[in-house]
Symmetry: C2
Subunit: 490 residues, 2 copies
């Protein structure tokens, strides 16, 4: 990958002085247009060999741009906040909103590369992790982010010279901050890095290999590449591919797995009280236990309006130490959330170890309401199944137990509950004209729910279908399921 | 994945009799429109559990369609022709041209699944192979193929009943032709199959899970799904995404690895004769040797017009047993080739074990002439780097040695050779007005060549840059390199 970059490239210093002002003006103009239009976010990954000048190009770029709309995200060893959550959490946390540019230093490539170099990671596992990175980056770019990945390379001679000069100047031996290629292990490292670069040079996010022996050449190339990319995207927004295949499989009888539930299941009042108390005590013990402190729980509650999601969540929450859980009601996304890829708003609520997050509606909105209402394009919700599976797999790998509940009621029961809400004063606010309109789309929702369950019920994060016609039955089933999932995991 | 498919789905027999004629007419009309327009090819993969009726749905489809424009490709254990080539070769061989429908029975999924079930394949390797399948299918669909993948599922009770009836009728015990799920091992197999289906249900080629307990339900769903997919593609051709990022990295000094070659290298006549004869003898011995009989060679020759590709190939061929090699001059694609994904024309020439294929120009045309002349869109040639790396990796895994030569000459030397050709009568045909026009694009070619070498020189299939200003030097270097590569591999 480095063939052309490692030959001599020079740019005359005086010519550089002449060219630089135009580049600077161009970058600033492009950035201001981006800030004004807020049409996309740009993520610039900077990585490369020791002594190639990663810090220098970042300084240069910050000099050129308006610093109020740029952020630098540097990642070293994870701190406490970070290490108590899944690996990818910190990268998600820092994703810039539309209109903003982020410079990423020490990226999601570091982990797989380090493990591979240490030999913890066989070739198969390495390739699998790179495939996951490709899916992640494809998701970012599909969501409209401009992703530029720079790899700075420097010849062995120049590298040695620079690191020596650094040591003489500071008395500090250069430490390989990133394992991309330090001087001594260069020979062993290079083929692995080249393999990584090749496998993650995709059409949506190719690596840009930057020859860095000559600082003027390096900086001018760096700046011009960014300028050209910004300009191209500002002038010509990406055209998303239409899905090549009809998403809706003709489901002739419109029967889904929901139709197999026995919604007549009930729990009498006495039995309910006893079962509820038992399950709550069990959950409290589990969540306070030593073993849970290394794990976490994410529970998603989905169901039609008035299916009893809130009531079930309250019964779960009641059993827990309030410092250890948080309930996240998911309504329309905020401006901040709209400015980022759709999974960002859920990543930000991923709990740290020993904690629980209860979602009243969840990321499944993408394949339910957004699909049915047409808020998401067919291509968007079709690829969401895979993205959601990746998301939950990442949570599971980070030690988090993922529980997902579909609270099922009949259309008739929903009507009864709506009418009851309209009569009871303090429940009146819970019912809106939109709730009535949604009833008309009941059948289309059933198909979407069926597809969702089929495509996202994984062994690690299975769906639990809850017969919710009787609220008592539903609440106990939810609590007991969470207890069982935790017991299995701990 | 099978939740909704495994519940009861029924379609009344009489209703089926009423609905079927319309479906049949619709399918036939859609097919004839496809044959006429030749706008795309359709590949229908049929797989699923034993006794689910895979054969039945194929028969039904053949009944419905005009059989002259349909082919059934069934793959069992590879025969001699197939097993002497890389795994994917037979699937490429049979890819239908535009306007045609192929039904694939026993697909590229069988191998990874079998190895996984046998336990030969760890989870990491399994996932890596599925990632390779996803890239393969994405390539097919990006190239315009409509890919439909059906998985037929049947409940345990119905499966048992059908296989029992089959045995009573024929006296033959049903043999698990495909390992997707037979009766006995169902429990063990199902989670693995579900994992496979989930990981390869992409937005460009999602799996379609077909409930098959009720034959009428199954057949009607099957037919309607195909009909809808055909119609949608006929009415609305896929819009390809524009590349989200400018492909051309500003290469300020336009220097590439080509500029580092010492083109003054020469070989005097005497030394040439001796070196040539030695290398030819060495190559003959290698190619006749026992060890080569399990391997094969693919050599690609690229270079500017008049760089001496033909001459070098002749010197290589001269050393070989004519029954063991074939030279493939690559000019404009034929109609047959244009009707299929661009790599098909090279896959068809992949040699069997013990044989050699010499390509005079190659698959690199995609990122050279097609890029420079604009015959391929930016998105197309950008993704081609990864596709080509995948292609060569597949060859290498199949035991084939891949050698790639760039024959480098200066623009001035090209001019001298052009002028000489115009003077020598029997070489006159070798020079056309287009050759002169291409000279004007010399600089753009140099950049494309540099990118090509950077992005496709892998450890398994490295580029060899040949200083070709002196033809004798070039020929000897080519021969010696092939010998070295073979010696390393054998």
């Amino acid at each position: 990958m480095f063939e052309s970059a490692l030959i001599e490239h020079k740019f005359d210093k005086e010519a550089y002085e002449r060219e630089e002002p135009a580049l600077r003006t161009g970058l600033l103009e492009a950035q201001l247009e981006l800030v004004e239009k807020q049409s996309f976010a740009a993520v610039i990954v900077i990585t490369g060999m020791d002594g190639a000048g990663k810090g220098d190009v970042i300084h240069r770029l910050l000099e050129w741009l308006d610093p109020r709309h740029v952020q630098v995200d540097a990642y070293g060893d994870p701190d406490d906040t970070e290490s108590s959550r899944p690996r990818m959490w910190r990268y998600w946390r820092d994703l810039p909103p539309k209109g903003r540019i982020s410079i990423v230093f020490g990226s999601w490539y570091t982990d797989p590369l380090k493990s591979r170099l240490r030999g913890d990671n066989g070739r198969s596992r390495f390739e699998r992790e790179l495939a996951a990175i490709n899916r992640f980056e494809e998701m970012l770019t599909s969501e409209g982010i401009l992703l530029l990945k720079f790899l700075l390379v420097v010849s062995p001679e120049e590298q040695k010279r620079r690191l020596g000069a650094f040591e003489r100047r500071t008395g500090v031996k250069s430490r390989a901050l990133e394992e991309w290629a330090d001087v001594k292990s260069r020979k062993r490292i290079r083929p692995i890095v080249e393999d990584l670069v090749r496998r993650t040079s995709t059409d949506h996010a190719p690596w840009i290999v930057l020859p860095s022996d000559d600082p003027e050449y390096r900086d001018l190339t760096f700046g011009r590449t960014i300028l050209e990319a910004l300009r191209q995207r500002l002038e010509q927004p990406t055209v998303l591919a239409t899905a090549p295949f009809p998403a809706t499989i003709p489901n002739i009888d419109r029967r889904t797995v929901l139709d197999t539930l026995d919604l007549s299941r009930k729990l009498p009042s006495n039995a309910y009280k006893k079962a509820l108390e038992e399950a709550q005590a069990r959950l409290l013990a589990l969540s306070q236990g030593k073993r849970f402190q290394d794990r976490a729980l994410v529970a998603a509650f989905e169901g039609h309006d008035a299916a009893g999601k809130g009531g079930a969540i309250r019964r779960v929450a009641f059993a827990l130490d309030p410092r250890r859980y948080r309930v996240h009601p998911i309504a329309a996304p905020t401006d901040e959330e709209k400015a980022r890829p759709y999974l960002w708003r859920f990543w930000r609520h991923v709990p740290r170890r020993g904690h629980m997050a209860l979602f009243d509606r969840s990321w499944y909105g993408r394949v339910l309401v957004e699909r049915v209402e047409g808020f998401a394009s067919e291509a968007e919700w079709l690829r969401a199944y895979g993205e959601i599976n990746d998301f939950e797999e990442e949570l599971t790998r980070g030690g988090i137990v993922v529980a997902k509940f579909w609270l099922a009621i009949t259309k008739e029961e929903q009507l009864r509950r709506f009418e009851a809400r309209e009569e009871i004063a303090y429940k009146h606010y819970k019912i809106t004209p939109e709730d009535w309109r949604n009833r008309e789309k009941w059948d289309r929702y059933q198909l979407a729910i069926g597809d969702m369950i089929d495509r996202t019920s994984t062994p690690e994060a299975p769906w639990t279908l809850v017969e919710a016609e009787d609220k008592r039955w539903a609440r106990v089933k939810v609590l007991e399921t969470i207890c069982e999932r935790l017991e299995q995991a701990l």
